[in-house]
Amino acid sequence: MQDISQKEKYIITQILNGESSLFEKIVESYSTMIFRVAMGYLHSKEDAEDITQEVFIKAYRSLSTFNMEAQLSTWLYRITVNSCLNHIERKQKKSILSRLEDSTWLLGTRKSADKNPEEYSIAKEKAQAIRKAIDSLPEKQKTAFILQKYNELSQKEISAIMEISEGAVEQLLIRAKNNLKSKLKNLI
């Protein structure tokens, strides 16, 4: 695993010395990465943006605890995963707005204004089923699955983030895929 780059070390050191404006460099580098993880967990653009903001605020406040032995991205991924899991716990019930969010996925797939309403309805049901299946995965399987699928991380990178062996990551991914296959077996 690569160590933190010298540039990032310098930026972090300067931020800790009072140059807080340099934190913008970290935000620019990692905001999309964090947003994508949050989308995998929350499936809502607004929630994902809120989590992204929350993650950077947490990172800024606890920057002095970052030991610079691991990559900054690994540390940020961990904060993101924990923040997403906490957010899901806080969210008790599915709101009407979040049901409407399922439609945003479909907006990207509608290619013409005269798309068959029946096809649209079927696509919407499929989207909801897939989302539900991903959300119902056990926590560690979901984390490994999201990091691989949404952020295209390698098993090595995922193992560093989750602090487990690469073999354990592989097992989690296999189980996640089997679980999804099983949950979506009725989906045509």
Partner: protein, 90 residues
Amino acid sequence: MEKKDIIDIYIDNEKKIEPSPYLNKRIMTSIQSHKLSLRHKFAIAASIIVVIASGILLGTQIANDTNEMYALNINDSNIENLHMYESVIE
């Protein structure tokens, strides 16, 4: 496999969703606000300390000043002699 393709399509569509172009600015603003709020709290705390300290100092000063007693010098012998008037009336 069709089911896997469906999942991959779903994920690919979610990955296409981009964050707001103002998100980074919003993040930095919230961080700066957090910094200002800390400074603000320190400023308020410092002001309160200054006010309390000033109050104690002023109070101590006033208490010291009022410790000097101004005695009323009343000389009873200087009070008007009423006997003089009594002799006139008679």
